[in-house]
Amino acid sequence: MQELLQQLVNGISWGSIYSLIALGYTMVYGILRFINFAHGDVYMVGAFVAYYSVFFLGLRSGGVAGALGALAVIALAMLAAAVLGVSIERLAYKPVRRQARLTALITAIGVSLFLENAGILAFGAEPKFFPQIIASKSLRLPGGAYVTTHQLLVLGGSLVLMVGLNLIVYRTKIGLGMRALSLNRDVANLMGVPTDRIIAFTFGLGSALAAAAGVLVALSNPRIDPLMGLLPGLKAFVAAVLGGIGSIPGAMVGGLLMGIAETLVSGYISSTYRDAIAFSILIVILLVRPAGLFGRAVTEKV
């Protein structure tokens, strides 16, 4: 029981990272019907921007200074990633937006390869160790499980970001534009919604969330390397599909489910099957409910 509880705590913490990344996938897919395979690499870039800004700002670890420093670093990483995301969209995706979807997908794979290899060039292929600016402490939970301050940080951080995202999407004019675009881009454009600007904004927003996820991960699992985004990115996408791609609550729930399932499998079965289980769940969900947990099934009119 205690062990199960512990696994759940770990799973939720890890899952909230997936949720943050999945949100970027799902927003972009919702609007452009396009799988942005480079999204996981933006998460990597976020972690590296944070890594260098820690040194640049000369942050010291521990205490209130550390916590404030962490906030500053997260903000910087999010900003940098947003700029990166918008640039990627403008330079690589916009020119192929009206092309076949496979063309756009290959472009995204190209961007992903570019970011990874440019990362290797710029940061080196060897893993780097992210400075521990926040001290790790374990707190005992009522059930006997432990939760670390890092896990709380990850959980709290992603909660704040997700609430913020919901406010943007459902309470602002630009959010309304995003929702209109996701229903019908052409009609939204005819109604005067500035589609290009909203698409760019969506990429920026999603990239910022991914970068935040990257920093939150780096704070607790300090090994970062240029290929760190590959698998989490892919699994976050799977989480988005699981929740129903295009659905924001779906991405959040999908990410959490994914994290919990993974920790349970590696805890109780075998860690080597961890990756396979993620995909198995996905396939079962797709076969039983292709639109995902929160997705709307679309039927074709004959």
Binding site: V96, I106, T107, I109, L113, T272, Y273, S280
Partner: protein, 637 residues
């Protein structure tokens, strides 16, 4: 004819074997091992790209799991040659160290094992996942590929994470390029047959393909299994070349690499896949001197190519060698029997369909319904709808609808928008199964049959929102509809057997005759999507008619036509009925058409039949007037 075909086939095979044998023997004296290695890896990549092109490019099923099938083929064949190989070599009286010819036997058996296992995996994975479409299918196949990899990683018998070592190195230049040749010829011939047209039809529009009798699921699974089998063989060669296998070679990145080859070459272009496979194998090697910038540049080139040339090198066309005309003709004649080239249609089609414009001279006789006997006698019953009901959730789109059509009947089905007319068509053709009631075609209850089976029983339709195979030519749209008229198997197509060639010739003659009848013959090479609207409607009728129906369902054929086109259409529909004899059920809003040519009209309103009778009766029927004009309008009328 048969003897000549065999002669060509055997001759071409011998020449190919000799050339490959000579190259295999003398290549090492001219180039170093590094070049040979690149050639071999190019060959393996060609096999992967061409086989994935069958799935992605031709059938339109977006698969991202090709590396998984490659892994299955590689591991099973390697396991086979490691464990069963030595005893086979010994049984053939050779020592395992210098296996020679016995090694070739083991490799061939290993290839068969690898292909079979990969194909079986393709079936197991394909049957459930191919129900998914587009991106969902892509993600499911990507997941399947990763699952395959993780499962292999956990099997200790094949080395687990350490990898599988001590695989005999039987793969040589000869074997790789022999298999490349086989892959290309099989795919080429398969695609240029009625089966290939069925695959393309699945890519273009599954609903329309089903309505013409193409069992779409079967073809999707076929493409998937054939593609997987070739990927498995590529994997076998790969393992027997490197002599070592590790699951790291088969991650989703490898699948991506193959997808990139297919897209870069041009979806649905076999020569494109080949060129892109060679280019993408060479590119990293060429970029090797710039070391760490290599992959960055590779990525940038990829993005740039997609932006500048999104349709790939060749689009969906094939590369054509710049040959002088006589050589081209000679090559075409040769290719007709062996590989690349259209099936042996030209001569035979000319014989079957002499240039005459007269439709009656063309072998479309099979299309005609059996003689109806005396006009006065009671004609045979074709379609009977008994209390047909179709409900969506709580909404009854059609309720208790009865209708009877006899041979050569021309009946109109009218009603205001949303009355349920198209739903009746969808229920007859099996797109939506009836909720209650029966659909009986010539005495056979169609309840629950899938659309392609119903089409095979002689029902053809057109669609309200035109569903042509937009990227296919006008001719191929109609040829696809002849799917049911031929019986040759995929195997026949690959070997270009007599049955295949004869039926291809007949199909071509029949399709051309149909186009002449519809006055579309001049446009046979145009992509269907390029036709103006009125011609698209006409092409859809031609396509429906080419499937040889005894019941033809026309869904608003006059929609969007100008008065002259409408008048032509009316004449055409009557001519179709008179010459080919199907019973015709016509949904139409244009009252001039309905009242002008239909002998009987049935009126639906809110899913309920409110009237049936001759056009004259319907015109005066108070309920019909009310349905169209509302109660007030009815009072004024």
């Amino acid at each position: 004819m048969k003897g000549r075909a065999l002669l060509y086939q055997v001759g071409a095979t011998l020449v190919l074997l000799a050339v490959l044998g000579l190259l295999d023997r003398f290549l090492p004296t001219f180039v170093n091992q590094y070049i040979i290695r690149i050639l071999i890896l190019s060959g393996i990549n060609i096999m992967l790209a061409v086989s994935l092109n069958l799935i992605n490019g031709f059938t339109g099923q977006f698969s991202l799991g090709h590396a998984g099938f490659m892994a299955i083929g590689g591991y099973t064949s390697a396991f086979f040659s490691i464990h069963a190989g030595p005893s086979i070599v010994q049984a053939l009286g050779q020592s395992p160290q210098s296996a020679g010819a016995a090694g070739a036997v083991v490799l061939i058996l290993g290839l068969a094992v690898g292909a079979l296992c990969a194909a079986i995996a393709g079936l197991i994975i394909g049957i459930p996942t191919l129900r998914l479409r587009g991106d969902y299918l892509a993600i499911a196949t990507l997941g399947m590929g990763e699952i395959i990899r993780v499962v292999i990683l956990n099997i200790e018998a094949v080395g687990g994470a350490r990898g599988l070592t001590n695989i005999p190195g039987y793969t040589t230049f000869f074997w790789v390029y022999l298999l490349v040749a086989i892959t290309v010829i099989v795919n080429w011939n398969l695609v240029r047959s009625r089966h290939g047209r069925a695959l393309l039809a699945v890519r273009e529009d599954e609903v329309a393909a089903e309505s013409l009798g193409v069992p779409t699921t079967k073809y999707k699974v076929l493409a998937f299994a054939v593609g997987a089998a070739f990927a498995g063989m590529a994997g076998s060669l790969f393992g027997h070349y490197l002599r070592y296998l590790n699951t790291n070679s088969f991650t989703f990145l490898k699948s991506f690499e193959v997808v990139i080859m297919v897209v870069l070459g041009g979806m649905g272009s076999i020569t494109g896949s080949i060129s892109a496979a060679i280019l993408l194998t060479l590119l990293p090697e060429v970029l090797r001197p710039i070391k760490e910038y290599r992959m960055v540049l590779y990525a940038l080139l990829l993005i740039l190519l997609m932006i500048l040339r999104p349709q790939g090198f060749f689009g969906s066309r094939e590369l054509r060698l710049p040959l002088p005309a006589p050589w081209r003709a000679r090559l075409a004649r040769f290719a007709r029997w062996v590989g690349p080239g259209e099936a042996g249609v030209t001569d035979e089609a000319r014989a079957a369909a002499p240039g005459a414009a007269a439709v009656s001279a063309v072998p479309v006789v099979s299309l005609r319904a059996p003689a109806a006997g005396d006009r006065g006698a009671l004609r045979r019953e074709i379609l009977r709808l008994e209390a047909l009901t179709v409900a969506f959730g709580g909404l009854k789109a059609v309720a208790d609808f009865d209708l009877l059509l006899r041979e050569r009947d021309l009946v109109g089905l009218i009603g205001p928008n949303g009355a349920g007319k198209t739903t009746v068509f969808n229920a007859i053709t099996g797109v939506y199964p009836p909720t209650a009631g029966r659909v009986i075609l010539s005495g056979k209850d169609l309840g629950g049959l899938p659309p392609h089976r119903i089409a095979a029983l002689g029902v053809a339709r057109t669609f309200q929102n035109i569903r042509l195979f937009g990227q296919l030519s006008v001719l191929d749209n109609v040829r696809t509809a002849c799917h049911l008229q031929a019986a040759n198997t995929a195997w026949d197509a690959i070997w270009k057997t007599g049955a295949h060639r004869r039926e291809e010739a007949r199909t071509l003659g029949r399709a051309r005759a149909m186009l002449r009848l519809m006055d579309l013959a001049r446009l046979e090479d145009a992509p269907a999507a390029m036709l103006p609207y009125g011609l698209q409607r006409r092409l859809e009728i031609a396509r429906a008619l080419a499937s040889g129906p005894k019941l033809l369902l026309l869904d608003e054929p006059a929609a969007g036509m100008n008065p002259q086109e409408t008048a032509e259409l009316m004449a055409l529909i009557q001519r179709i009925r008179d010459e080919f004899g199907p019973a015709v059920l016509l949904v139409e809003h244009d009252m001039q058409v309905v009242m002008g040519i239909c002998e009987r009209v049935s009126v639906l309103d809110y899913g309920i039949r409110i009237a049936e009778g001759t056009p004259a009766e319907i015109r005066r029927h108070p309920k019909v007037i009310e349905a169209y004009l509302g109660p007030e309008g009815a009072a004024h009328a």
